[in-house]
Assembly symmetry: C2
C-alpha cells in the first residue's frame, strides 16, 4: 500500500471527533469501539508499515509517546494492566492500540480480541468528557 | 506480582529448548504454539510490568531488538505483515509477542487471538531447524 491509497494518510481514519492529542511523531484518538473503555489508537503521522522501517531515534520517540499515553490511560481508567499492540493487518500504516484492562474486565486473562461483543460507540457528550480527562492528564 | 513469584524470573517459562538468542535487554524464544509459524516471544531479562516503567534508554534498546527479531522473522517466514503485542494479562513481566503473518494465513485481516485452533507443538528436530535458521539470520 502506498500513502495515497492509505486511509490514515488520506485522513479518513480515525474520525476527527475522536482526536485526543498531538503526540510528537503520532496522534492519539479514542478507538471507535469503547466496549473496552479507554481503548486508544496512536497513529504515526507519516506512512510507515513496520517497526523495523523506523530509524532507532524515531522508533524511540514513538515508543516514548506510546508509554506516555499508556501511563495516562492507566491513571484515568484505573487499569489493572495495559495492553499494547501494533498489528496493521487491515491498515498497514503504523498505529498502536493502547488498551486499559479494568478490574471488572469480562476476560481479564485473555486478549481483548477473543471476546465477541457488540461495538460500543460513545455519545458525543461522553466522548468529549473522556477526551477532556485524558488531555488534562497528558497536560496537552 | 513480585519477581520471586514470577514464572519468567524463576526460569519456568519459556522452555529452555525454545531459546533462540540473547538479545541485549531480552531473550528470544519460539512460542510454544507454532500454529502461526514463527511466533516468537522476547522476554525482558529483568522484572518490569509496564512499558512506561522502563526508562527511555532501556525501552529504546528493547524496541530495537524487537525490531531486529521482527525483521529476521519476516525474512525467514516470508511474512506479509508482522504483528507485535505486549499484553501480560497472565504473566505481568514484559514479554513481546512477535508474530509473522504468512501469505496463507487463515485469518489474514484479523488478530491471531480470534482464531480458535489446536496448539501446534513442533518436533524437537523441527524446532531445532527453525531456531538455527533464525540464529543464522540474526547473526547470533
Amino acid at each position: 500500500m502506498t500513502a495515497p491509497a492509505c486511509r490514515a494518510c488520506r485522513g479518513e481514519w480515525p474520525a476527527a471527533d475522536a482526536f485526543i492529542a498531538d503526540c510528537g511523531p503520532a496522534k492519539a484518538y479514542l478507538h471507535e469501539d469503547q466496549f473496552f473503555a479507554g481503548w486508544t489508537v496512536l497513529v504515526l503521522k507519516r506512512h510507515v508499515t513496520e517497526l523495523y522501517d523506523l530509524d532507532p531515534h524515531e522508533r524511540g520517540a514513538l515508543m516514548d509517546v506510546v508509554s506516555e499515553v499508556a501511563r495516562a490511560l492507566a491513571a484515568v481508567y484505573a487499569a489493572v494492566k495495559m495492553n499494547y499492540a501494533l498489528l496493521g493487518n487491515q491498515l498497514p500504516h503504523i498505529h498502536w492500540h493502547v488498551i486499559p484492562r479494568a478490574a471488572d474486565d469480562p476476560i481479564p486473562r485473555e486478549p481483548v480480541w477473543t471476546h465477541a461483543h457488540a461495538p460500543r460507540a460513545l455519545s458525543p457528550a461522553e466522548q468529549r468528557t473522556r477526551i477532556d480527562a485524558l488531555r488534562v492528564r497528558l497536560g496537552r
